[in-house]
């Protein structure tokens, strides 16, 4: 297990740890899982819902077409197919996709999420069934209440029902791990597992001639500023790079040389700063940010 993060002084964490959860693999490495935000899960759900509704509408049109084309001879078989498909879509769409090795529905894949058990065990069918069967009270009960029974129940009944349903719907907002009731019952959670491409190492670029950053100039920032600089360089936004370059030049009291581009300067500075900080890291000291003078 890496102790670098824990070596940082308490109080000011080096990472936004609020959403990071520990998962120690049997090899003893902490994978630092990142929990999905409620907003991301909502997006994923709406993608899935759109797919389900789309398939249902398509199927309805198809079965109507089939009935018309056969002169209403085959209504029976089309009805059966429709009924079964609607039932399986509603109940087993999520289960079937979560059973695959990716552990995610198309909507979750699109957002880069997956389902996993909270204790790191393999995700079994029982857990998937439990978490999805609970959708009955999280989604279908409130919906049927809103659209069907709510009208019959009168105002106070409707109000009481709405509050009761709201407990289930807003459950994820009231716990630390953003669990919905299905996750709570099944012992699962939803985490980030995006496919990430290996990006170019910024230290591998050609260095512009005549751009030398001295040790003293590199010695003003820490890891936090380095990662900001990395982000700026990867985003390649001209205006931001110009502003950041100006800030750094002012900080190290260096004027812009003839024919020197902001990008080249930032790349050179990034390399110098990273070399400096990684050198210190190898000797056991991680300079967190510019205030960390030790």
């Amino acid at each position: 297990m890496s102790t670098v993060e824990t070596a940082a002084p308490a109080g000011r964490p080096a990472l936004p740890t609020e959403r990071v959860r520990e998962l120690i693999t049997p090899e003893g490495i902490d994978l630092r899982l990142k929990l999905a935000e409620v907003s991301e899960r909502t997006t994923a759900f709406f993608i899935d819902a759109a797919i389900i509704v789309g398939v249902l509408v398509g199927m309805t049109l198809l079965s109507i077409a089939a009935m018309i084309s056969t002169g209403f001879q085959s209504t029976g078989i089309t009805q059966i197919i429709w009924l079964l498909a609607a039932f399986f879509l509603r109940n087993f769409y999520f289960m079937a996709f979560e059973l695959t090795p990716r552990g995610a529905t198309p909507g979750k894949r699109a957002v880069g999420l997956r389902v996993a058990t909270r204790n790191g065990e393999p995700l079994g069918f029982d857990a998937i069934f439990a978490r999805n069967a609970m959708r009955e009270i999280e989604l279908f009960l409130p919906m049927s209440f809103l659209f069907v029974y709510g009208r019959e129940a009168g105002i106070w009944g409707a109000l009481a029902g709405t509050i009761w349903c709201a407990v289930f719907v807003f459950f994820p907002f009231f716990n630390r791990d953003r669990l919905r009731i299905g996750d709570f019952v099944a012992g699962t959670w939803v985490i980030h597992a995006p496919r990430r491409a290996l990006e170019l190492d910024l230290a591998s670029g050609e260095r512009a001639a005549g751009l030398t950053i001295t040790q003293a100039e590199a010695d003003v920032y820490g890891v936090k500023e380095l990662s900001v600089l990395e982000e700026v360089l990867r985003r390649k936004d001209e205006a931001t790079m110009q502003a950041v370059a100006a800030r750094i030049r002012a900080k190290i009291k260096r004027s812009k040389a003839q024919g020197e581009t902001d990008r080249a300067f930032l790349e050179a500075y990034y390399l110098a700063l990273r070399t400096k900080l990684e050198g210190r890291l190898l000797f056991g000291h991680r300079r967190r940010d510019k205030h960390d003078k030790a």
Binding site: S2, V4, E5, L23, P26, E27, I29, L31, T75, G76, Q79, I80, L83, A86, F87, P101, G103, G120, P122, L123, G124, D126, A127, F129, A130, R131, A133, E136, I137, F140, L141, I181, F184, V185, A186, G187, T188, I191, A193, P194, R195, R196, A197, L198, E199, D201, L202, A203, S204, V223, L226, S227, R234, R274, T275, L277, E278, G279, L281, L282
Partner: protein, 333 residues
């Protein structure tokens, strides 16, 4: 000469091909299944995974390249879930479910099942007595849509014809409808159990009341035996399934209220998974009941045969689920 001194850069250059190979294997395995990989690749994958983990650990210690660490974290997480994911095939999981998981889970819920049966019987008894005394009570227990013309106002001959009618047009449509409708209700009963058992108990109770009201209606016209056959052929399977669904719901609600020795979160996930196994079985049972009701009942109009099939089905479920069996090794499936 800067590049030579930047150790993290050299580290990345040395290991990069391995990471890319792992990424490629994972992408292929995730797209279809582990079967998409050759034997050599299957053997290589855990090795590459461990090497990527060690890279991650080194990178966290020596590299300040955020993108690289993020890449390795995502790669290792994906590989972890693949390497330590479920290793059995789908067919084996299904076999294990029928052979071991389902009966074991049902046996574990025996007390809840008994309670659910008792609640259902209570509902049936109350409704039976009320309808026997005053037939207008029937309408309080059965919604008009479900009664479908069968009510105290109907003539005895009409009632008799509903039991033996063979003019039901699409038998299989009817069966399908019954299955999806009942399965939805069962799933609902299970999920409702979460709210401290009460809504699930209510659902089971109303089911029993409906049953009692119908029995009373037909019995008061001297059609009790025939109605019994009509009901028995699928009812043993269906009502048993609904009792099991209620039991699964009770387990959830009870555990939420009284988690026992373990923390509430742990107890809930154990209860939820066990109940989910039972519920999977319930959906299967309701499929069988739908077939018996939609097809079997319409084809077989002999009351004795109907009783025989219903009794056989009940016996089968009881023996299958509760017959003690040898304890098998608990392989993970």
């Amino acid at each position: 000469m800067q590049e030579l001194t930047l150790k993290s850069h050299r580290f990345r250059k040395e290991r990069e091909t391995e990471w890319r190979r792992l990424e490629d294997l994972l992408a292929r395995a995730e797209r279809s299944s582990a079967a998409a990989l050759s034997d050599d690749e299957i053997i290589a994958l855990p090795v590459l995974y461990r090497s990527a983990l060690s890279s991650l650990s080194v990178a966290r210690a020596i590299s300040l390249d955020q993108a690289l660490i993020a890449y390795l974290e995502s790669l290792c997480t994906r590989a972890y879930f693949f390497v330590y994911g479920t290793r059995t095939t789908f067919a084996k999981r299904i076999a294990a479910f029928f052979r071991r998981d389902w009966p074991r889970a049902a046996q574990d819920l025996w007390l809840e099942t008994l309670i659910a049966v008792a609640v259902m019987a209570l509902g049936a008894a109350v409704a039976y007595m009320l309808v026997m005394r005053d037939s207008t009570w029937f309408y309080s227990f059965v919604s008009p849509g479900l009664a479908g013309g069968r009510g105290p106002a109907a003539a005895t001959e009409e009632l008799r014809s509903t039991l033996f009618s063979d003019e039901e047009s699409g038998l299989s449509i009817f069966a399908t409808f019954l299955f999806t409708h009942n399965a939805q209700i069962a799933l609902f009963a299970f999920a409702l159990g979460f709210a401290f058992c009460l809504p699930a108990a209510f659902l089971v109770l109303t089911n029993g009341m409906m049953l009692g009201a119908f029995v009373a209606l037909f019995a008061s016209r001297g059609l009790g035996i025939e109605f019994g056959g009509w009901l028995f052929i699928h009812g043993t399977t269906e009502l048993f399934a609904i009792a099991l669904a209620g039991a699964a719901g009770f387990r959830l609600g009870w555990t939420l209220a009284f988690p026992g020795q373990r923390s509430r979160v742990d107890a809930m996930s154990a209860a939820g998974r066990k109940a989910a196994i039972v519920m999977t079985g319930v959906v299967i049972m309701l499929g069988v009941a739908g077939a018996l009701e939609g097809v079997g009942r319409q084809v077989l109009t002999d009351t004795g045969l109907r009783y025989a099939i219903g009794a056989f089905a009940l016996l089968f479920w009881l023996l299958y689920l509760y017959l003690p069996r040898m304890e098998e090794s608990d392989e993970h499936g």
